[in-house]
C-alpha cells in the first residue's frame, strides 16, 4: 500500500541537514507498525511523507520515491490521497475546526463529494463504534482532552481509509483513555485496517504492534518483528523499553515478553537477584513545611471544582499530584501558585497567609514550568529568557544562572533564540527559567509529556539534585512510571478532591482507590509486588 524507496528529505526552511535519509519501508493494510525513536529523530517527518504532506505542504528537497496505492506522492496532491492514508496529528486543538462534532466528522466526507444520506450513515456508524453518539451536537473545543482525541480519530475513521497513521496518540492521555484507544486500534487492525503509530513511549503500544521500526537521526536503524527488535539495545536510541521487556532480557528468558504476567510465569523457577539499585524516590528525608493549604476549596458556575484540600509541602521533598483527566490537578496547581483565588480556605507560605497574594508576587517563592514552554518565550536569546524572573524580582545572580545553564546543558544554546530550539531544549529552558529566581518550590506541569527517555533521565537527575539542595518539587502528571520513580509522596485526586495521599506503593496497593481515581498501578509496582514473596528482588533501573 505504502512503498518508500531510498527516500531522502531536507526541509527548505531548516539548517540544510537531512531530516530523512535512505528510508526504505513498506506498510500494508492489516498490520500494526510502531515507528519509534527519540524526540527529533524524524518520526513526524516520516509520517508526513505517507499522505503527501511532504513534499506538497512542507517544501524541501526530496529524493527517492513514496507511492501510495501505486501513485507517487510527489505527483499526487494530498487531497487525492487523504481517504487512503489518514493522518491523525498530535495536537487535537488544531484539528478541530467545526462548530459541532457531527460537522467535524462530516468534513472529510464532504470533501470526497459523498451524498448527504451516505455521510449521515457513515457518521452514525463511526460515532457508534467510538461511543461518540451523545457528543455529536456538542462543540468539539469544549470537550475533554480524551474526547477530543477520539473525535479526531473518528473524523479520520469516517473516511474508511486503508491505513491510519497516528502521531503520538497517547500524549497527554490518562491510563483509562490510553486503554480505550488501544482497544479501538486493536479492533480496527483486526478488521483489516493498517495501523501506524509514531511514539517514543513503547509501553502503551508494544504489546499490540507486530512490527517495530526504530528511527534515529532520520534513518531507519532497526526494522522487524516486535520481539526481535525488542531484543536489541533500544536505550541507545533514546527509547525506554517496558519493564517486562527489560526483565525478560535481564533474566535471560527464552522469549522477550511484553507482559509482566508472562515474565512472572516464566521466571517463577529462576532465582531472582538484585541487578541494579532502585533509584531513590525523594521525599523520605524532608525538612520544614514550606507551602500548605488549609481546607482550600474553589467553586465556579455553581460547581465545586476543589473541595477541602489539605496538604503540606516540605523542603527537600518531591510530591506528585496524580489523577485522571479532569480530576482537578491543574486547578489545584493554579491555586498553589496564586493564579486562582480560592473561594474558601487558606494558602500558607512558610506559615504566612498568602491566599490573596498575586501570582506575580508569589513567583519569587514558587516557580512554575508549564507544559507548553511556547506560552512564555518572548526574548531573542535563551540567556535573557532565563533571566526574566530574577530581573523583575531584583535578585539576579549570574553565577546561579550559569550553574543552571550547565545543569540543564544549555551552555551552547544561551545566545540562540528560544523559539528555534527543539521541544526538549525548550522544556529545559523553561525549567531553568522557573528556577532562575531561586524559588523554594518548583511546580512542573506534565514535565515528561512528549519527551523521550534521555530527557526523562536528565529530568529525574535534576529533580533529585534540587531536592537534595532543599527545594520542594511538585510534579503534576499522568506519567505514573515517572512519578513513581521520582516522588516519595503522591496525592491522588478525583472530582476536585484528594482521595488519599501517601507513599506511592501504599496507594497503588489500594485497588479500590486506584479504580476510583481511574489510575493503573505502575509496572514497577506490579513487579515489586510479585517479588515481595521472593527472598531477593530484581529491581528495575530508573524510569
Amino acid at each position: 500500500m505504502i512503498h518508500i524507496r531510498q527516500l531522502d528529505f531536507t526541509y527548505s526552511s531548516g539548517s540544510g541537514q537531512k531530516a530523512l535519509g535512505n528510508i526504505c519501508l513498506d506498510i500494508e493494510p492489516g498490520r500494526y507498525v510502531l515507528i519509534c525513536g527519540r524526540s527529533g529523530s524524524g518520526k513526524s517527518t516520516l509520517c508526513r511523507t505517507f499522505n503527501g504532506l511532504i513534499p506538497h505542504f512542507h517544501p524541501g528537497k526530496m529524493e527517492g520515491t513514496v507511492t501510495v496505492a501505486g501513485r507517487p506522492t510527489s505527483e499526487t496532491l494530498v487531497q487525492a490521497l487523504f481517504d487512503k492514508v489518514a493522518l491523525v496529528f498530535q495536537n487535537p486543538e488544531a484539528q478541530l475546526f467545526s462548530p459541532t462534532v457531527k460537522r467535524e466528522l462530516a468534513f472529510g466526507l464532504e470533501s470526497l463529494g459523498m451524498p448527504a444520506a451516505r455521510i449521515e450513515r457513515q457518521i452514525a456508524a463511526v460515532a457508534a463504534e467510538l461511543g461518540l453518539e451523545n457528543l455529536l451536537e456538542l462543540d468539539p473545543h469544549k470537550l475533554s482532552g480524551g474526547q477530543q482525541h477520539l473525535v479526531t480519530l473518528a473524523a479520520m475513521l469516517a473516511l474508511k481509509p486503508r491505513i491510519l497513521v497516528l502521531d503520538e496518540p497517547f500524549a497527554n492521555l490518562d491510563g483509562r483513555h490510553v486503554q480505550a484507544i488501544r482497544r479501538i486500534l486493536a479492533r480496527l487492525r483486526a478488521e483489516g485496517l493498517g495501523i501506524v503509530v509514531c511514539e517514543h513511549r513503547l509501553r502503551p503500544t508494544v504489546a499490540d504492534a507486530d512490527r517495530i521500526v526504530v528511527i534515529d537521526r532520520g534513518t531507519i536503524v532497526l526494522d522487524g518483528p516486535c520481539r526481535r527488535v525488542l531484543g536489541s539495545d533500544l536505550r541507545r536510541y533514546g527509547l525506554q523499553v517496558p519493564l517486562a521487556v527489560e526483565l525478560s532480557r535481564k533474566l535471560g528468558l527464552q522469549k522477550i515478553h511484553t507482559d509482566l504476567q508472562q515474565v512472572a510465569s516464566e521466571a517463577k523457577d529462576i532465582p531472582l537477584q538484585e541487578v541494579s539499585p532502585s533509584p531513590r524516590a525523594t521525599g523520605q528525608q524532608a525538612g520544614d513545611v514550606i507551602l500548605s493549604t488549609r481546607h482550600l476549596s474553589a467553586r465556579t458556575g455553581g460547581l465545586t471544582i476543589l473541595d477541602d484540600i489539605n496538604l503540606e509541602i516540605q523542603a527537600g521533598s518531591c510530591l506528585a499530584i496524580v489523577g485522571a483527566n479532569g480530576a482537578g490537578k491543574t486547578t489545584l496547581l493554579r491555586h498553589l501558585n496564586g493564579l486562582a483565588r480560592p473561594s474558601g480556605g487558606r494558602l500558607l507560605l512558610k506559615g504566612k497567609d498568602v491566599t490573596r497574594a498575586r501570582a506575580s508576587a508569589l513567583a519569587r517563592h514558587v516557580g512554575t514550568a508549564f507544559q507548553n514552554p511556547a506560552d512564555q518565550f518572548f526574548k531573542l536569546k535563551v540567556s535573557d529568557e532565563i533571566a526574566v524572573t530574577p530581573r523583575i524580582t531584583g535578585n539576579l545572580d549570574q553565577g546561579w544562572i550559569d550553574e543552571l545553564a550547565q545543569r540543564f546543558g544549555l551552555e551552547k544554546l544561551m545566545q540562540r533564540a528560544p523559539f528555534r530550539l527543539s521541544a526538549g531544549e525548550k522544556k529545559r529552558v523553561a525549567f531553568a527559567a522557573a528556577l532562575a529566581g531561586k524559588p523554594e518550590i518548583l511546580i512542573l506541569d506534565e514535565p515528561t509529556a512528549g519527551q523521550d527517555a534521555d530527557f526523562r533521565e536528565a529530568l529525574g537527575k535534576t529533580i533529585r539534585d534540587l531536592t537534595e539542595t532543599g527545594h520542594a518539587v511538585i510534579i503534576i502528571t499522568h506519567d505514573l512510571e515517572f512519578a513513581h520513580s521520582q516522588a516519595g509522596r503522591w496525592i491522588v485526586m478525583a472530582g476536585g478532591r484528594i482521595l488519599r495521599q501517601g507513599r506511592p506503593e501504599v496507594l497503588m496497593a489500594d485497588r479500590q482507590l486506584m479504580d476510583q481515581a481511574g489510575l493503573e498501578p505502575t509496572e514497577r509496582f506490579l513487579w515489586q509486588r510479585y517479588c515481595a514473596g521472593k527472598k531477593r528482588c530484581l529491581t528495575p533501573g530508573p524510569s
Binding site: 499522505n51 504532506l53 506538497h56 505542504f57 494530498v78 487531497q79 487525492a80 487523504f82 489518514a86 493522518l87 496529528f89 486543538e93 488544531a94 484539528q95 475546526f97 467545526s98 462548530p99 460537522r103 468534513f107 472529510g108 466526507l109 464532504e110 470533501s111 470526497l112 463529494g113 459523498m114 451524498p115 448527504a116 455521510i119 449521515e120 473545543h141 473524523a155 479520520m156 473516511l159 493554579r334 496564586g338 493564579l339 498575586r358 501570582a359 506575580s360 508576587a361 513567583a363 519569587r364 514558587v366 516557580g367 512554575t368 508549564f370 507548553n372 511556547a374 506560552d375 512564555q376 518565550f377 518572548f378 526574566v388 524572573t389 523583575i392 523559539f419 527559567a433 522557573a434 529566581g437
Partner: protein, 218 residues
C-alpha cells in the same frame, strides 16, 4: 425557522432603520425591541457583558459628535451606534456563523471563503484561551500582568508568545485541513439552505416596514 440569509437581510434593514432615524426615541425603541428579543433568547447575561464593552465606545462616539454638532446630535449618535451593534448581537445569537457560511454558499460564495469566515469565528475562543495561558505563564514568572496599567509596560511578554502561537496554530490547522481534503474539487454539503415562502414573506414585511419608516421620517 428562517433562512440565515433572511435573518441577515432583516438585521441589515433594522440597522438601516437605526442609522436613518433622527429621533432618539425611535432609536431607543428599536434598541428596546432588540433587547426584548435577546431576553427571549435567554442571552441577557452575555448581552450585558458585551454592552459593558460597547458603551464606552458609544459614549466616546457621542462626545465627538456632540463636540462638532451639538449635544442632541451627540446623544442621538451614541444611541444609534448602540442600537446598530445590538441588532447585530441579536443576529449572531440567532444565527450560527457556520449556518450563515453554508447559506451564503447557496448564493454563490466559494466554500473556501465561507470556511475562512466560519473558522475565524470558531477560533476566537481558542485564541482567547491561548491568551489566557500566556498571561498565566508570565504572571508565574513574576511579570505583573494582572489587569492594570503596569501590565501595559510588559506588552511584549504577552503579544510575542501569542502571535507566534497563532502562526503555529494556523500552520497546524492548514495541515489538518489538507489532510481532510480541503480544497478538493467536487465537494458535497450535508446541509443546504433553500429560501421558503416564510422567508419571502418575512423579507417583504421587513421591506414594507422599512419603506413606511423612511416615509414617516419625511
Amino acid at each position: 425557522m428562517l433562512d440565515p440569509r433572511t435573518k441577515l437581510i432583516l438585521a441589515l434593514m433594522a440597522a438601516a432603520a437605526a442609522a436613518l432615524t433622527d429621533k432618539p426615541a425611535a432609536a431607543a425603541a428599536l434598541m428596546a425591541a432588540t433587547i426584548a428579543f435577546i431576553i427571549r433568547r435567554g442571552a441577557l447575561k452575555p448581552f450585558l457583558r458585551w454592552l459593558a464593552m460597547v458603551l464606552p465606545m458609544a459614549v466616546f462616539f457621542g462626545l465627538v459628535t456632540a463636540y462638532g454638532a451639538g449635544k442632541a446630535a451627540g446623544m442621538l449618535a451614541a444611541i444609534k451606534l448602540a442600537a446598530i451593534t445590538a441588532v447585530f448581537f441579536a443576529f449572531f445569537i440567532a444565527t450560527g456563523a457556520d449556518e450563515l457560511g453554508d447559506a451564503l454558499i447557496g448564493w454563490g460564495l466559494p466554500f473556501e471563503a465561507a470556511f475562512v469566515f466560519t473558522a475565524a469565528m470558531q477560533f476566537v475562543p481558542v485564541i482567547g484561551r491561548k491568551a489566557r495561558r500566556v498571561i498565566d505563564a508570565q504572571r508565574c514568572r513574576g511579570i505583573p500582568m494582572e489587569p492594570g496599567w503596569r501590565a501595559v509596560r510588559h506588552w511584549p511578554a504577552f503579544l510575542i508568545p501569542l502571535v507566534l502561537q497563532c502562526f503555529r496554530l494556523a500552520e497546524e490547522l492548514a495541515e489538518a485541513m489538507a489532510a481532510r481534503g480541503f480544497g478538493r474539487p467536487g465537494r458535497s454539503f450535508t446541509r443546504t439552505f433553500r429560501m421558503k415562502v416564510r422567508d419571502w414573506t418575512a423579507l417583504l414585511t421587513g421591506a414594507l416596514l422599512l419603506a413606511a419608516y423612511i416615509y414617516c421620517q419625511g
